[in-house]
Each structure stands twice: as C-alpha cells, then as structure tokens.
Amino acid sequence: MLQKLEINFEQVLEENKHKIFRICSIYAVNPLEPQDLFQEVVFQIWKSFDGFKGQSTINTWVYKITINVCLRSKMKLDKTNQKTDRFESIHFTPVDEEIDTFEHENFKYLKACISTLNETDTSLIVLYLDDLSYKDISSITGLSENHIAVKMKRIRKKLLDCIASKMK
C-alpha cells in the first residue's frame, strides 16, 4: 500500500515538476526563491497525497495545491516563507543560458509582464498559459467558466499589449 503510494507520488511529481516550478518562479519573491517554494509545494502534495479522492484529475489537484501554496506564500500566511533547509534529494541545475538566449529573453519579458498583474490575474494567466481548458481552470479556481472567460479577455489583452511594448 505504502509502496504503491510512493510509486504514484513519484509519477505525479515527475509529470508535474516543470509545471510546478514554472508557477513557483512567478510567485517567488525575495527572500524566497522558486526552489524554496517548489519544495513547499512538493511537501504539501505529499502531505495531502493520501487524501486525494479522485473528484478531479490528479493534474488539476496538483495545480490547486500549487496555486494555493503560492498564494499563501504571497500573503505571508506560512511561516515557511522564511528560508528553510532545502531537501538534498531535489537538485536544480541551471541550463546554460547561451543555448537559447532569444527564448530566455522572451521569457524574461513575459515574466516581467505577468508581474504587473494582480494575484488573481496572475493565477489565471499561468493556468491559461499551461494550456488548461476553462473547465479545468474553473475547477481549480472555483469561478464559473463564464466568469473566467470575461476575466481572461481582459487579462490577455493587458498581457499582449505589455509584451508587444517590451519587444519593440
């Protein structure tokens, strides 16, 4: 039973680690680094893993925990905002930036534009950029699909205008 749980956990983590890290890299603010936030998300997933009831897909469930942990960290609800010792079993290796400087630059612009959005719009846009359907976003956020559509129309325009001005 425990072994099955560990295998499932490993699989879920492997499938979602990059998505989680991307979201953490948007929410992490000094002195907290994306790695610290990533570690906290992994811990919370492990803590709640046994209680996953399958009412939503496992990926949607992981997004819920990731966004909630990130929002809590922004609101300074957790004492874990203070830097803690990192897990030695998680290794982050930066990829050589020279591999694709253009892509890296674009991501920096995107990140800068996302940082101009409020917390709510940030949560919605990161889910949208991860190509989630409005139905999934609705399940994660608790907003209706219509409400999300109205919000996304405004957020997309704001983001595209910002990116366009940065790329000029």
């Binding site: 560990e6 956990f9 490993e10 983590l13 492997e14 680690k17 990059h18 998505k19 890290f21 991307r22 890299s25 990533f38 992994v42 811990f43 919370q44 492990w46 709640s48 209680g51 996953f52 469930w61 819920k64 925990i65 966004i67 909630n68 942990v69 929002l71 609101m75 609800l77 897990f87 079993s89 998680i90 290794h91 982050f92 290796t93 930066p94 990829v95 930036e97 591999i99 892509e103 674009n106 991501f107 995107l110 409020n118 917390e119 709510t120 719009d121 950029l129 399940s139 994660i140 956020t141 608790g142 907003l143 209706s144 219509n146 409400h147 109205v150 919000k151 983001l159 595209l160 990116i163």
Partner: protein, 217 residues
C-alpha cells in the same frame, strides 16, 4: 504576438532549469519534515497544557490547605478557569489547522478568511476570557485572605508567600492589574499587527476574484 507564441514561451521556460529528484531519498526527507512538524506541535501542546495543569494542581492544594472561605471559593473558581482555558486553546487549534490546500482557490481563500477572523476574534476578546476572569478571581483570592491565627492555621511557607497584610494585598492587586492589562495589550497588538493585515490582503484578493463577474453587476 499570437497567444500560441506566448504559450510556447511559457512552456519552454521549463528548460531554464533541470530538476532531478531522488524519490526514495525525498520521501525519507518529507517524512522527516512531517515528523518534525508533528513533534513540534506535540511539544507546544504539552507545554501549554502543562502550564494550566500546574496551575490547577497549585489551586487544588490551596483549596484544601487554606482555611479562608472566600479564598477557597476563588481557588475552586481558578481550577474551573484553568480547565476552561485548556478546552478553549484546544478548540482554537482545531479551528486553526483546518487549512485544506486541495480546495479550489476560492474555497481556500474563504477557509483562510474564516480561520483568520476566528484568530482575530480570539485575540481581540482575550480580555473577556483570559484576563478579566482570572483578575477578578485573583482579587477575590487575595481579599479573602484573613488572619491565620483566627482559624488556628499554621503553614510557614504559605504565610511567607501569601499577601496577608492590607498593604501587600493592595500591592498584589495593583501588580495583577498591570499584568493583565499588559496581556490584553499584547494580544490586541498581535491581532492588529499580525492578523488584520493578512485578513485585509485576503479580502482584497477575494474582491479581485469576484471582479468582472457579469452576474454581479
């Protein structure tokens, strides 16, 4: 720029860091962290309950040892109050730890708001359950102390500790008044400095979630 290009930029950002995880080692570390947190919670609970239990034992001793009726009555009230504090703190902890991170974001915000409001109310109302009742009980206790000789009571230790003269009684009550006023002030400060800013932030985010909702406007 097309939206698809934005999505491509976003998903390609994953390549800026390679994440490798040694799962079996990670599970050991996660379990160790979980155990550490549970142990810290247990120690904190034991420490808080022990303070009240020691208080109860002390007043039980005084209840049987001291002959003055008013003081004995105050001792009995103190025991009841310590029991009430244990129950109140345990109830508040149960309420505080109900943070379910697998709720929807909106649900999680509502849950956090309710928990924070409860915490703020608990700290704000400290005067009514943690300061004024024991202050009144302690006043009854001190004022009820009489002349040991009239009751043929001899206990050198108690006599050397208890404020038996009027000057000592006034001094003790004044000291207690300052002590409980300090407790009220510290808790009210914690509510307005630590809890209320978070509550305001939660409300701002909740308003942001509700914005653009056509059914609202």
């Amino acid at each position: 720029m097309l939206e698809q290009e934005l999505k491509n930029i976003w998903t390609s950002s994953a390549q800026t860091a390679q994440i490798s995880i040694e799962t079996s080692q990670l599970i050991k570390e996660l379990n160790a962290k979980m155990d550490g947190i549970q142990k810290a919670i247990r120690i904190r609970d034991i420490r808080e309950i022990s303070a009240s239990v020691i208080g109860m034992l002390l007043y039980m001793y005084l209840l049987f040892e001291i002959p003055f009726p008013m003081t004995r009555f105050a001792s009995a009230l103190s025991i009841v109050w310590f029991a009430f504090v244990i129950l109140k703190l345990r109830k508040s902890k149960t309420r505080h730890i109900t943070c379910k991170l697998d709720l929807s974001v909106r649900g999680q915000l509502a849950d956090q708001e309710a928990a924070m409001r409860y915490q703020a109310a608990l700290l704000d109302s400290v005067a009514y359950w943690y300061a004024i009742p024991p202050f009144i009980i302690n006043c009854i206790f001190v004022l009820g102390l009489g002349n040991p000789a009239e009751y043929n009571w001899t206990n050198s230790l108690a006599e050397s500790i208890l404020p038996l003269s009027m000057n000592l009684k006034i001094g003790t009550i004044t000291g207690l008044a300052f002590f409980y006023a300090l407790i009220i002030w510290l808790n009210k400060r914690a509510a307005s400095r630590d809890i209320k800013p978070i509550l305001e932030k939660i409300n701002i985010i909740q308003d942001e979630w509700e914005a653009d909702n056509e059914s609202n406007g």
